[in-house]
Symmetry: C2
């Protein structure tokens, strides 16, 4: 029974992808259904004169778009997404539902009737671990428990490649052996036990706050598919709550694996509730941004107590990971004084200003264990912020940056002592030849905790194109071992991204992440490339569009040159016209080579003249 669509719902992008439908793969250990996208392909026409065809199996694609692209599911953003994980969480019997929200700030917002018009109407009572319990996935993993989240992830990462492996000799399964720089990527496919062991070792993170039961579990770790994050968020200058929700849905539609809400404007508490309730992917935040709002932008007025209340406020809303700039130590700040661009991280500069104003050590560092105590009762993951990352090529790999990285390594070990999941943020702006050093030092100092980098941008001279300057660095560092890539949009350094920028950023980063998966040799990563290239070679235009990261743009670009429907089934490319197409000629060559046994080298030497004559006699054409 479908409800009437309200105007609100119309604003949310829900159209399924072309030739695609959702498939749900059942678990073995748990009663779960893992969502994926299946793309149907058309059949290959065989050029033998009999009009025969050969089917092409559908291709399964990792799908971050959530329930939005399943027309069978009713969605009302006023109610939020189905709470997929709530039953999993409560079944573990280690959580309590609180009678009310705990944070002072959250309570004051709830009590403010003037906010009722903005407020998400169906706010649930928050969950928290029972007294003394630890509900982090790392905690379960260390105890040897394979959670539903872990099995979900194993199935999701495989994208049914484990089922394809049973088909012998599938040419679409051919793949180059990768170079993974010492990672431990499984050869065949991902098992639930492998997921557990990686989480237990701290080498992978499953961001999944127990108060965000709507999310579809995903994993961040260098032995898994490389993930990408999209930043959204309003600021003093911009947009509405509804726009922000659509921006998140839009980012997920095109492939964002997580979304960071970096709002700095008014009503960010209320905006965040809407985003989380409607987000199928983990949500990250930088709590210090909101804390600063609470002290009217005066960094020196920040206090641990106010920050602590902010952490609890956000944890109970369901934020899945927090960027915490606990590595910006007082003694590192002077190391940035001679930089060309000083401190460019917003969180880093806030903490630096606080440290200098008080001449005391960063309170995020001094209270780090107390932060861990909060994280583990909601299963919020750390994203240890790189507040001293370089903001330009000149400042790359300097003393300030690497000093902070060492401290992040120390903090990682403290977090792990509390079984709190932890990822490490990385730069920034780095020329290509200095990127690898970043990865190597991170692996060394942070004991293989997942690395999560912003680009890096490989040059400073292309504002307006920094999705590209950074995709180069992102692809490379992803190959070297970075587990998640934070996208950069074309508006970086210039302004706030609109929907087009968000899409451009996401697609660009999907490219970087996938290029890294191919280079690392992730199992099955090349399947989609093979299927798309086969479609391209066989002039299956629609299949080529449908298998691409952005079918809409691929089709639109093709149609600009040859808009007629007939052109999409034509056996020539739009680039070269009907009489001049290398693909067509190659098909002729291939058919001929196969027919004449040219594959044996010795066959070439003999009888060349005869064969030539025979070919000419038949009109020098192949399709006889």
């Amino acid at each position: 029974m479908k409800k009437e669509k309200t105007p609100d719902q119309q604003a949310i992008s829900r159209a399924p992808f072309p030739a695609s439908h959702k498939v749900y793969v059942k678990g073995n250990l748990h009663n779960i259904e893992v969502a994926m996208r299946e793309v149907r392909l058309s059949e290959t026409k065989i050029h033998n004169g009999f009009g025969l065809t050969s089917p092409n199996p559908p291709v399964t694609i990792y799908d971050t778009s959530g329930a939005y692209t399943d027309p069978a599911i009713d969605i009302d953003i006023k109610i939020g997404l189905p709470k997929l994980r709530e039953h999993w969480i409560t079944t573990r019997k280690d959580v309590q539902q609180l009678p009310n929200i705990s944070s002072v700030y959250g309570q004051s917002r709830l009590a403010d009737k003037s906010l009722d018009v903005l407020r998400f109407a169906h706010i649930a009572k928050p969950y928290r671990a029972m007294n003394g319990a630890n509900v982090s996935q790392m905690h379960y993993a260390k105890k040897g428990i394979i959670t539903a989240e872990m099995e979900y992830i194993a199935i999701r990462e495989n994208q049914r490649i484990d089922l394809l492996n049973n088909q012998e000799q599938d040419p679409m399964l051919q793949q180059h052996e990768g170079q993974n720089f010492g990672a431990s990527i499984p050869k065949g496919y991902i098992t639930p036990e492998f997921v557990r062991s990686e989480v237990a070792a701290g080498r992978a993170v499953i961001p999944c706050n127990i108060n965000h039961p709507e999310l579809e579990p995903m994993i961040i770790g260098r032995n898994f598919l490389v993930k990408i994050n999209a930043n959204i968020g309003n600021s003093a200058v911009t947009s509405s709550i509804e726009e922000e929700v659509e921006k998140a849905v839009w980012a997920c539609r095109w492939g964002a694996d997580t979304v960071m809400d970096l709002s700095t404007g008014k009503n960010i508490h209320e905006t965040r509730e809407w985003i989380i309730r409607n987000s199928p992917v983990p949500i990250g935040t930088v709590p210090i941004y909101q804390a600063l709002e609470k002290v009217n932008g005066k960094a020196e007025n920040l206090t641990w107590e106010l920050f602590r209340d902010t952490l609890i406020e956000q944890a109970e809303q369901g934020v899945d990971y927090f960027t915490i700039h606990a590595g910006v130590l007082l003694r590192y700040i002077p190391l940035t004084a001679k930089r060309v661009t000083g401190i460019v991280s917003r969180g880093g500069s806030i903490m630096a200003k606080w440290c200098l104003a008080h001449h005391r050590e960063n309170f995020l560092y001094t209270h780090f264990e107390e932060i861990c105590e909060i994280m583990k009762v909601y299963d919020v993951s750390f994203s240890l912020g790189d507040g001293l990352r370089p903001g330009c090529i000149a400042d790359a790999n300097d003393a300030a940056q690497f000093a902070e990285l060492e401290t992040l390594g120390e903090l990682t070990k403290i977090a792990w002592k509390h079984d709190v999941q932890t990822i490490i943020e990385g730069p920034g702006h780095v020329p290509m030849h200095l990127i690898k050093e970043n990865m190597e030092k991170q692996l060394e100092h942070c004991a293989e905790a997942p690395f999560y980098t912003l680009g890096p941008l490989t040059t400073d001279i292309a504002p307006g194109y920094d999705h590209i300057t950074s995709a180069i660095g992102a692809a490379m560092i992803g190959w070297y071992g970075t587990a998640m890539l934070c996208y950069v949009t074309p508006k970086e350094h210039l302004g706030l991204p609109n929907k087009k920028d968000v899409k451009d950023g996401v697609i660009t980063y999907k490219i970087a992440a996938h290029a890294a998966d191919l280079a690392k040799g992730h199992p099955g990563a090349q399947y989609r490339d093979n299927a798309l290239s086969k479609a391209r070679f066989e002039f299956r235009w629609e299949d080529q569009f449908n298998l691409s990261l952005d079918p809409d743009t691929a089709k639109e670009f093709h149609d600009e040159t040859l808009p007629a429907e007939g052109a999409k089934i034509a056996h020539f490319c739009s680039m070269c016209g009907p009489n001049f197409c290398s693909m067509k000629i190659t098909q002729d060559v291939r058919d001929y080579a196969a027919k004449q046994g040219l594959e044996e080298d010795h066959a070439i030497a003999k009888g060349m003249q005869d064969k030539s004559k025979e070919f000419a006699d038949k009109g020098n054409e192949i399709y006889l």
Copy 2:
């Protein structure tokens, strides 16, 4: 005395870049003036309460836009660009001006009155070497002669960094030491003698047909700045001659170092004349495309004689380099039969079809020395085509590709025997971890002849975004040693690029090339990054735009968020609003650190409370 602008001229992009003007640097050895672009910067405001300012010296930028961006020069595309090099060429006294064009085809076109409306009106009589002479730059270089072209290039490559080197302690000159994988990049700057020696060794190429005197000399070699090529050209489906000229001018405006005219439609002889006469950069072609037109698209009807006539036709028009697919040997063709996408090079597939049809060896291979004889009397450079390059990830680095590369190495040595300048074309589609092998094998087989690659694309799954999939590979292979990168536009695999696509492709490839220059540690390469980042840090918005690869887009993106003029002199970013800007906070930190002597670690430990109080007493603000 300026002429009236005709409608034709209006169609050509001539606006100078913002805050930029042309400068002309004189030679020492030759009477030459080397064109560059100089960007004026505004001054830095010093935050010391006295309203002082500090000037920022102008930045010199490598300029491929030619005379078009100099408002002092009259240009009429019906007449063509000034013949900069004609005097240099004739002064060498080794050329003769022919009474008429030599090619049968060219003569027939000239005799066809129906083409008068299309024809460039001022066709000059072609030059050719005197009998027995060799007019290639390699020939001069081997004889120890530093030509005007070589000195022009040395001055051009330096971009006045040699003059800046005299200023001590310029912080803008700081640069990371590069990693260049065994290249021989000079430490300080480029000398004319270095240019000569690289050309003599075959490690660099100066494409400069004596019949293209309009070009501004440039060099392709891994010890020089990485160059980019833009492809233009009509086809059976598209555009007018005038559009093609503007496309070339447009590509040069944004940074194309060479342009390949890949036209396959009608009237390509006439179109080419217009393009060359109006092109300030070297023009490359693939003569087999035109030869195929002459036999109505029937590859099997191609003959050596017809091809030879085409080479002479194009050489006398002034084409600077020819792509010649002489490495597609008969015995290599069957190696492509089991590929996912067979032969994707148009030239490669034409030759493969010819070879199979006749069961004879590729006539480009068997007549290679005769081709050399033509090349050296006009100084046309070889671009040895990779007709068997992989067209998808699956086919990368296979036996067919590397077999052809070995043959290209053999041919290089034959070309060098004739002192014919030679570059080698490379792939294609290659996953990141297999890119380096391409560079290494090319260096090994081709004795360091410059490598010229198409991307490579690092994944197949993003049609519509292949400028990006390929920029990743291009930047990497540029770093590894590729001398010139052939751009890929967003329309690759889908359709013909329009002006926006050409610009997107060029800018994307300027990014890749510059990222490679930074990673290789090319002298002075980081200067522009430093200047732009300093401007960014100091909120000199206009300077940031003007120093960027695409000032128009940078400014437009900024204005989308904060359109008011005042915002461009505001001391906050458009991203974060006036009260929340990391750059502003960092400036506070820096001023404070300098004032308090915080740079000495021991100073931090003592008196923290006092300093804190002092800071608070002054209102917790820095700008006192």
